[in-house]
Symmetry: C2
Amino acid sequence: MSIWYTEKHTPHSGITMEVKKSVYYGESEFQTLEILDTFEFGRMLLLDGVVMLTERDEFVYHEMLAHVPLNTHPSPEKVLVIGGGDGGTVREVLKHPQVKDVTLVEIDRMVVEAALTHLPGISEGLRDPRTRIVYGDGVRFVADSPPGTYDVILVDSTDPVGPAEALFSEDFFRNCENALGPDGVFVCQSESPFYHLPFMVDIFRRMDGIYPLVGFYLAAIPTYPSGNWSFLMGSRTAETTFPQCREHAQLQTKYYDRHIHLASFALPRFLAEALTK
Amino acid sequence: MSIWYTEKHTPHSGITMEVKKSVYYGESEFQTLEILDTFEFGRMLLLDGVVMLTERDEFVYHEMLAHVPLNTHPSPEKVLVIGGGDGGTVREVLKHPQVKDVTLVEIDRMVVEAALTHLPGISEGLRDPRTRIVYGDGVRFVADSPPGTYDVILVDSTDPVGPAEALFSEDFFRNCENALGPDGVFVCQSESPFYHLPFMVDIFRRMDGIYPLVGFYLAAIPTYPSGNWSFLMGSRTAETTFPQCREHAQLQTKYYDRHIHLASFALPRFLAEALTK
């Protein structure tokens, strides 16, 4: 017998992979969570049936979400992560010795608990003394944060439909801006240039009205739609320009380095032109 | 009824897409050729059941295979394309007004004929007066070429198994070097960093012994395995350094521009480290 998991990336296309076995299945008030063990990608975390990460390629997403903004900010000490209950982003943030504390705001306790039990290599940072976990709504948490609290805010969300939709709203972007310190840097995952171009143009314009400096950067993530993924960065002050790579510390990474950091801001012409139309 | 085409990229994973209809099927002495019309990617060309291109994303592959070397060479006038009977690479090469003639060496006449009939937007350059089509074995053709004949050689081949294997051999690399003029630039498609790392390390070493300057560059191609694809470039003289982008002419492109050109040489750390071990 052979079991294949297929995820449709559009109504007419997707990826497919062979499954060894199901490791975990749970339902919370927010979503379903499944961890499957696959032959090619190791363990894979699904929320509402959509791939969030696989052990094989999660390093790309988490390194790029964390290190690009942390090496852009002049001195990142206080970091806020919205979503990302699996812990992969926190693990990367903690590689920066300058970071004094990381607050993770995850709406769904089940994600954290399943990751701690079944994805230990990814969730290890959640047990670090510098990490504080808050279970709650990231939108509300940011709205209630005192101004200037964080150096870097990272939004490690699901796709912008359903529960995560509010994490791409103008209000949320504005509240994050307000919760950032004077040199603050904001990043959110922002979907695939090949499949979600209109969405990317939309949120770019939304962010562009709030942050003086806004830009996308890209990374190669095989198990995400099209294999090419984007991140949208905003800088609270025009003095914290990008692309720049400050290299605060030697980082143990598998994808990220200063060349990749700087190169990741080069956009395919079809994307660059869509943003200037 | 719904028909799905699935291509395994590894024994345990792949992509899948819904097919509207079959447009063409043929068999030659070398391979089978199929053109399917898909909902998401338009028409798709398969050789021996493997995706060669789709109308939706072929621009990335063909632009990057052609424009990076042509904008590296100081004055590309004579170009040789090995394989690429669909014509996409020739179409891009011909966008450079400096190019005086393109020789396409395709082993399988069926590829050219099917592309001319069923993929007109891709094959148009095959009808250009600057294009000469030779039906024959690229390995032999290059071995028989007088020294210093070409400014740029592009290898637009299938995967390095079966018929295309010889296009990645040391002998072939050496014969190409010999067929290039003093500033000559060579590029071949060279598979996916995520799936074919040992192969990439192998051919890098093979090329490194022959060309004074050798390096990979990368591009995001959704329908190729992992969505991230590599090209291996060799420069016949250390004076024609890269990355550099000479921008000989304004090019009508959808993916390529000078930022992408320069950025495409930044390699993920896991790849860069594998090459220096």
